[in-house]
């Protein structure tokens, strides 16, 4: 089998491992009490994920060998590398904070969906056309991939936050059910002293990640303030990378097309995504925009990120239109 063929086979193998891991994570999350040790199913899911990621890395490396260039030259490769980084980022977050385990099935689901879409965008391994042969482009694309993968994990946290926050509000109003140990509204601003204004932005994100209200999946999620803080943290990591990706793209455009910015649809949507995430970071610091409203802005940012990637490449024609092939 050719190296390109091996790469394609490894792609399918990684996808199967991820699919099984996702299913196992969904089973495990229902069985494991928050904060408890991983169940047997949970350990199997983790093992499948790590094995899948190792196979996935093999797929990316063989692809690079087959194409004789960096393995992010078209949408198929871009998506594959994005999912790999997403899985690695998820494993990194969860290994540092085991209490956040409940996001694993959701993060893996995003990864599997992206992977399936990637297969639909398959392109055979081959060289790049001249406009794409630039170091700035390579830097631009890998930065965009890295930022997107972290934004994706942040999105998982945001959605989890919205689910959890809703469950908590209901528990608060109905005084309901599971939340015996539940202390009060999630976002409690600490008062600082000595003329320092109170700061709510990153009240210890990991304090008391357990004993949450809500039923079903919501009950398994860490408390909403934890989810919110992580959503913010990850966005704050991805945002400078995205900023850098846009700048590197502009530098490349200046070298390839004589202008650094021309409101090409790809540039426009990269800018819109940047603006929405910038608004999110601002919103977090503004009273009246915290919590749910800020989370909605983060969701809008992620939607815009997907438009920037899929809709612009596949449906809107611009100078980047060759990115689809």
């Amino acid at each position: 089998m050719s190296v390109a063929g091996i790469s394609d086979t490894l792609f399918w193998a990684a996808l199967v491992f991820y699919g099984l891991a996702t299913a196992a994570f969904f089973v495990a999350i229902r069985r494991e009490a928050p904060g408890a040790m991983r169940s047997a199913t949970g350990r199997v899911a983790l093992g499948l994920t790590i094995a899948g990621a190792a196979i996935h890395l093999g797929m990316i490396v063989t692809r690079a060998v087959a194409a004789g260039r960096v393995p992010w030259g078209n949408m198929y490769e871009y998506s594959a590398v994005l999912v790999f980084l997403l899985v690695v980022a998820m494993l990194a977050v969860v290994s540092r904070r085991p209490s956040l385990r409940a996001i694993e099935p959701f993060a893996m689901l995003v990864g599997v969906v992206t992977m399936v879409l990637a297969r639909g965008l398959y392109a055979p391994a081959g060289p790049l056309q001249p406009a794409l042969q630039s170091w700035w482009l390579k830097i631009h694309v890998i930065s965009a991939i890295a930022a997107s993968s972290i934004f994706s994990i942040a999105f998982v946290f945001t959605v989890a936050y919205l689910i959890k926050e809703r469950a908590e509000r209901r528990a608060l109003f109905t005084g309901s059910t599971v939340g015996a140990a539940y202390a009060g509204p999630a976002v409690v601003a600490e008062r600082g002293g000595a003329g320092f204004p109170a700061d709510h932005l990153d009240a210890d994100p990991d304090a008391g990640a357990d004993a949450p209200p809500g039923r079903g999946l919501a009950a398994r999620l860490p408390k909403s303030s934890t989810l919110d803080a992580w959503s913010y943290r990850l966005t704050a990591v991805a945002f400078p990378i995205w900023t850098w990706a846009v700048i590197a793209g502009a530098i490349w455009a200046a070298k390839a097309w004589s202008r650094y910015w021309a409101w090409d649809p790809k540039e426009t949507w990269a800018f819109i995504t940047w603006v929405i995430y910038a608004a999110y970071l601002h919103a977090r610091a503004t009273s009246g925009w915290r919590g749910r409203r800020a989370a909605v802005v983060a969701v809008a940012g992620f939607v815009s990120l997907w438009i920037t990637y899929y809709v612009v490449n596949l449906w809107i024609v611009g100078l980047h239109s060759y990115a689809g092939t």
Binding site: G126, G192, A194, F196
Partner: protein, 474 residues
């Protein structure tokens, strides 16, 4: 800040419009087609500037408002930052973290040690009554100010580029020369302040090469050029995609390429009416070009031609190219006779057929010729390529790049740094057995990133404990 957030959303929404509707500065032809399909809506969109969103008044208004709100926000922040920057660190009333210990030294020595220790951690320190106050993390606000101010700088750079720059395109056939002047360009946009400061150098294209992978995907486009200043050769180099030639602030980019068959037209008496390479533009699967012969009488002649570099006629009888290589070059032509109407402005790539009628048609392979019934001979004795350069000067680019760098550099401390205060108070206490001893109280407070400050505070306490050599917490 709420206003700023709303304006950011407005900016995003406004920008998105231009990605769904064709934009005149990017693709004029697409705008014309779009309007032809929807005349009513097209006229309305034209009126509200939807075909040039990024140059429209309302788009400018949104970002101007954003900048006004930005400046309105920055001025007081700069003042406050200046005050805070110059102020000496002060103790807080009550820290979020506190620690009390005993040091095995006197009051003054303990204060000295505490101050040195905090300075090593890059805290600014100041002596206070019976202790020391320390503070760090001003770069959080400093970085944020840098980030926001950089947008004003960015806009200045964009404006300079628009006003003082230019941007033109020219197609040059292999072996030909181009002199960098306004009239020599095929198309050009000059900034309102550019003032015709063209450089006047001469660019000679020696050779152009396009290489392709087996599957037809282009691998490389290279133009070999010599650049002359008067008669003096100043550059002898290749221009590739992504690798422009930069000379005297002007950048020359490899933009496109095409075929330039040499077309010779002879009259029945052997007079040569036309003998030059003709630039053919890509058109569908082939290439299209025209020759205009105004000197014939009584009727002028125009040739409208299609060129195929690797001709194959498919099963439906339609000609097409099967590769990008010149394996089977053919020129098909349609002759027109009458009045070329050259007194009216027209494109060199189109024949104004209003006063012309179709004449003979024919086809000619490379190095062949064909004599038409009308007595003219058309021959195709050579094939060259042409290269298209984008030639541009953007004097604002360096400013924009610097602004982008400031945006990025400012972002890191504004997102990841945090302002924090630590203060230490020391009191001499009665020493057992005459040894000096003092009680040390530490307090700390972080404005942001409290979790990581907790760790830092712990480390400060451990450090001090070691250096003061005293007992633990009381």
């Amino acid at each position: 800040m709420r206003t700023a957030i709303m304006l950011l959303f407005a900016l995003a929404a406004a920008a998105s419009i231009g990605s769904f509707i064709p934009q005149r500065p990017i693709n004029e032809l697409a705008v014309i087609r779009w309007k032809a399909m929807r005349p009513g809506l097209g006229a309305f969109f034209e009126r509200i500037g939807f075909f040039d969103v990024y140059g429209a008044g309302w788009f400018t208004a949104i970002y101007t408002l954003l900048l006004v709100s930005l400046v309105g926000c920055l001025v007081p922040r700069y003042r406050a930052f200046w005050r805070v920057w110059r102020a000496t660190p002060k103790p807080g009333a009550r820290g979020a973290h506190t620690f009390e210990g005993v040091a095995a030294c006197g009051e003054d020595e303990a204060i000295d040690i505490a101050e040195r220790s905090l300075r090593r951690r890059r805290y600014r320190t100041a002596r206070i009554e019976g202790g020391v106050a320390a503070e760090r993390g001003h770069w959080r606000e400093g970085g944020s100010l840098m980030f926001h101010t950089a947008f004003l700088v960015l806009l200045v750079g964009v404006a300079v580029g628009k006003g003082w720059g230019f941007n033109g395109q020219v197609a040059i056939v292999e072996g030909d020369r181009f002199t960098e002047t306004h009239v020599a360009y095929d198309s050009i946009n000059e900034g309102s302040r550019f003032g015709e400061r063209h450089r006047g150098f001469t660019l000679a294209v020696e050779d152009f090469n396009a290489t392709f992978a087996d599957n037809g995907v282009p691998k490389e486009f290279v133009s070999r050029v010599k650049l002359f200043e008067g008669d003096r050769l100043v550059r002898d180099t290749d221009i590739r995609v992504n690798n422009p030639l930069v000379y005297r602030g002007v950048s020359i980019f490899q933009l496109a390429w095409g075929w330039a068959p040499r077309i010779v037209i002879e009259a029945g008496d052997g007079t040569v009416l036309h003998d030059a390479p003709v630039v053919f533009l890509p058109d569908g699967g082939g290439w299209r070009g025209v020759v205009k012969v105004p000197q014939t009488k009584p009727e002028q002649i125009g040739l409208e031609m299609y060129f195929f570099n690797d001709l194959k006629v498919d099963e439906r009888g339609r000609p097409r190219n099967v590769s990008p290589l010149p394996n089977r070059p053919f020129v098909f032509f349609q002759e027109y006779r009458g009045d070329l109407n050259l007194s009216a402005p027209q494109s060199v790539y189109e024949i104004d057929k209003r006063k012309m009628k179709p004449g003979d048609i024919g086809a000619v392979a490379l190095n062949a010729s064909e004599t038409l019934p009308g007595g003219y001979t058309i021959s195709f004795p050579g094939l060259r390529q042409y290269t298209v350069f984008q030639i541009a000067a953007d004097p604002g680019q360096a400013v924009v790049l610097a602004a982008a760098a400031l945006i990025l550099v400012g972002l890191f401390p504004s997102l990841y740094s945090s302002r924090r205060r630590v203060w230490v108070r020391v009191r001499s206490s009665a020493a057992a057995g005459g040894e000096p001893e003092s009680r040390v109280e530490l307090s700390g407070l972080a404005l942001q990133r409290k979790a990581s400050f907790e760790e830092e505070f712990g480390a400060i306490v451990r450090d001090l404990g070691r250096q003061l050599g005293g007992g633990g917490a009381r």
